[in-house]
């Protein structure tokens, strides 16, 4: 496994991010720092605030208060510079259903003012082959399956080589081979200095890929650090990431709930 090429430079920073929807604080004072070349896992239960945090970091949502910095650039103060470095993949990727995969990649490359020419063309072909989309070229994205849409979304990020990747459940819906491909790809990219923050519900992905994780629960960060640090924090040497996750985002014991549900009716 290649060693992460971190040089201590902070690539992504959340400072006290708060997002309020009516009376509900979906995200309530989230702060963390990610160094360049790191892959950080963002874990949390459904509705904990992962997507909301990521969307504030990429500038799709304006925080109620707090600051999001990409390479020390405030995304609200200097949006264009920050956005040029950023690639964000939504839970349900943003695509144009009436374009083919190749047309869509060209569209994105043009939006980011990438030079047109043989180099771009080559890179595009390589990505399409990598994600096994090359021979589906006559097809419009609207006819893609869920996993294929996820893949074209990823390809549209990678074609422009952003230095920071924010990925919301990138392996969601991918077959095991493609999921493996994404994992390997992210490791390679990180080794080359790309910073990755990815949310996921698949703890094996987090465990295999991320040196550090951040766990969010009901809008608050409840733990950050390496898995060893989390173990020390929880005081159990042998605990798996799943145990730690369940302990840190405590709810009622599921076994108890299941028993109550299946109990014979009175």
């Amino acid at each position: 496994m290649p060693l992460p090429a971190t040089d201590g430079h902070i690539a992504v920073e959340a400072r006290n991010l708060v997002k309020q929807y009516g009376l509900i604080k979906a995200v309530d004072g989230v702060s963390f720092q990610i160094r360049r070349g790191e892959i950080v896992g963002f874990l949390g239960a459904n509705g904990a605030g992962k997507t909301t945090t990521l969307r504030m970091l990429c500038g799709l949502l304006t925080p109620t208060s707090g600051t999001a910095l990409i390479d020390d650039i405030d995304i609200l103060a200097q949006p264009l510079q920050a956005k040029a470095r950023l690639g964000y993949l939504d839970e349900e990727p943003f695509v144009h259903p009436h374009l083919t995969g190749r047309e869509f990649l060209n569209y994105i490359a043009d939006l980011y003012r990438m030079p047109r020419g043989p180099e771009r063309q080559q890179r595009m072909e390589r990505l399409l082959r990598l994600f096994e989309l090359a021979d589906r070229d006559g097809e419009l994205i609207g006819a893609y399956s869920h996993g294929m849409r996820q893949k074209i979304g990823l390809a549209s990020l990678l074609i422009r080589e952003p230095s920071v990747l924010l990925l919301d459940e990138p392996t969601n819906g991918l077959d095991p081979r493609s999921a493996r491909l994404v994992k390997d790809l992210l490791e390679e990219l990180a080794a080359l200095g790309t910073t990755v923050l990815l949310s996921t519900h698949i703890l094996e992905v987090a465990q295999a890929l991320c040196r550090r994780v951040a766990i969010i629960d009901r809008g608050h960060i409840v733990a950050t650090g390496t898995i060893e640090e989390l173990r020390a924090q929880a005081g159990s040497e042998q605990a798996s990431l799943e145990d730690l996750f369940l302990k840190l985002t405590a709810g009622p014991e599921s076994r108890e709930l299941i028993e109550r549900l299946l109990a014979p009716k009175l």
């Binding site: 144009h96 043009d110 003012r113 419009l140």
Partner: protein
């Protein structure tokens, strides 16, 4: 207790509607309610007054008027209410859930039929007011009034069931993935044909140099008397004439027709429900294309440009979106209809100003059809633009630049054709062309802004792509801009004539000073018109910059 499935479905729908309403801010709700109230009172009042007058002064025509009214209503419902009917019967993931649940298709059909009628009922309230007016005006007996309500309700039922039948038939014979597009095209063509026919009949009715000729209208109506859509009208006029037996016969016929169409619709719907859901339940059908030729050999050079990227993307999407194309058809036929109606060769001075008004209308119409949906039609892809390193000002500019060429091309072509047929000189053609270009730029900018001020990115239909606020801003802006611009144009034209000493301005002398004053006034109006455009563009920019909504998939 066992509630009927129909009731459960309806209750869930009403609950969802309530939540949707309550989600809005109270101020907007109150404004919306006020607006609707005013609209209902004025429009309903006008319909009532028209009916009243007709009932009072044309007692012999009440049968023609009533059956014509019911027929017109049916056609209107058939065209305008169609998208709602398709949506309620065949679209929506909630329908999938109903199909999976152990519910009889009959229950689904009834629940959906009641929902689908909502749009048609709204349209029919117009006829309701008019018919009540006829009843009051002609001093009809009391039974007339409850009978009106019953008959209109029955008519709405029939038309809605007919729409469900049409959709089911399309589904049976057209390959499923094309069905929706075919249905939209059928509705669009029916609408376009209706507009054209209507325009042509108007043209005959309002023949030049004579008073409106109503015998023509009567002739048209007499031709449609045998149509089932006219039966309720016959029933009502029989009541007015005091023939209750005749009324009962027409009423029974209408009821029998309703029972027949509903039964047919139910049977067909049951057979096509599953086939239809495959198409309509998911995201919109996208045509599979044949594999493209091997990647183009010519590799383009130079830096990528966002504006060009948006242009290419929009062009490709538009070309492939049959539904949007079919909706454009009426928009393009509209101006032609107007032209046929109001234009005829003549060499009088007045015709010049009629033409100027006509160009203004066409420019405004085309712009609003093409420009208004241009930002909302990005749908979820709008988020890509927000994430890209570009400003919303650039996005707006790209959209304006993109819509301008077709609008200018069509309006200029139209201008040249009209100028050629009406025999104006080159000088006048040049003047009018400048005006047309100015109007095109302004109206397109206003249209794009209206879409940016109140975009509904989730709307699957261009006609619902802009909210109430945006629509009002766009309409108001366009009227203001149009009036000021044409006013400025008139001042320039008359000012020039005055300076040359050839103007006929009644008591005002035709001198250079007067000409200069008119020019100054014209400049003032032109600046005002430009200011409206700039303000709307600015509003759209600031609204889009702070846009925050999440855009749900599908």
């Amino acid at each position: 207790m066992n509630e009927s499935a129909t009731r459960i479905i309806l209750k869930a729908e009403l609950l969802a509607l309530r939540h949707r309403l309550l989600k809005r801010s109270p101020v907007r709700l109150v404004l919306l309610a006020l607006f609707l109230l005013v609209a209902a009172v004025t429009i309903g009042g006008a319909a009532f007054a028209a009916g009243l007058t007709a009932g009072q002064f044309l007692p012999n025509e009440s049968d023609s008027i009533l059956s014509g009214g019911f027929t017109a209503l049916s056609v209107l419902m058939l065209v305008v209410g169609f998208p709602t009917v398709i949506a309620t019967f065949f679209v929506g993931r909630d329908l999938l859930q109903l199909v999976l649940a152990p519910i009889r298709p009959m229950d689904i059909f009834v629940a959906r039929l009641l929902l689908a009628m909502s749009a048609n009922l709204l349209i029919s309230s117009l006829l309701l007011m008019g018919t009540l007016g006829v009843g009051v005006g002609s001093g009809a007996p009391f039974v007339f009034f409850p009978l009106v309500v019953v008959l209109i309700f029955v008519q709405v039922l029939i038309v809605t069931a007919l729409q469900a039948i049409l959709m089911s038939l399309v589904l049976q014979w057209v390959p499923a993935r094309l069905a929706r597009d075919v249905a939209a095209a059928v509705a669009g063509l029916a609408g376009a044909g209706f507009y054209l026919a209507w325009n042509l009949s108007l043209r005959q009715t309002f023949s030049p140099r004579s008073r409106p000729d109503f015998t023509n209208v009567n002739a048209v109506i007499q031709r449609i008397e045998w149509l089932p859509s006219a039966w309720p009208g016959h029933a009502l006029s029989a009541v007015i004439a005091g023939s209750l037996g005749g009324a009962a016969i027409w009423l029974m016929l209408s009821l029998a027709l309703a029972a027949l169409t509903i039964a047919a619709a139910e049977i067909l719907y049951r057979r096509t429900l599953l086939a239809g859901l495959g198409v309509f339940g998911g995201p919109q059908a996208v045509w599979r294309r044949a594999p493209a030729k091997p990647a183009s050999v010519v590799v383009k050079q130079g830096a990528g440009s966002p504006a060009r990227a948006i242009a290419i993307k929009d062009w490709l999407s538009y070309r492939r979106d049959i539904r949007r194309l079919s909706r454009m058809l009426p928009a393009f036929l509209f101006p032609i209809g107007y032209a046929l109606t109001f234009l005829r060769p003549s060499r009088s001075i007045n015709s010049f100003w009629t033409e100027v008004a006509l160009f203004g209308f066409i420019s405004m119409f085309l712009s609003s059809a093409l420009a208004t949906p241009s930002i909302p039609s990005e749908r979820r892809g709008f988020q890509l633009l927000r994430m890209a390193p570009m400003t919303m000002r650039q996005v707006i500019r790209a959209k304006v630049m993109l819509t301008l060429p077709p609008v200018l091309a069509i309006t200029l072509l139209f201008t040249i054709v009209v100028a050629a047929t009406s025999g104006h000189g080159i000088a006048q053609l040049a003047e009018v062309s400048v005006l047309v270009v100015w109007l095109g730029i302004g109206f397109v900018s206003i249209g794009v802004s209206a879409g940016g001020i109140d975009p509904k990115f989730e709307a699957s239909d261009d006609r619902r792509a802009v909210g109430v606020v945006g629509t009002l801003a766009g309409l108001g802006g366009a009227f203001g801009f149009g009036l000021l611009s044409v006013g400025a144009f008139a001042l320039f034209v008359f000012g020039s004539a005055a300076a040359a000493g050839t103007a006929q301005l009644g008591p005002i002398p035709s001198t250079p000073i007067v000409g200069a004053l008119m020019w100054v006034g014209g400049l003032g109006l032109a600046v005002g018109a430009a200011a409206i455009v700039v303000i709307l563009l600015w509003l759209a920019d600031s609204r889009l910059r702070t846009y925050e909504g999440t855009i749900a998939a599908v």
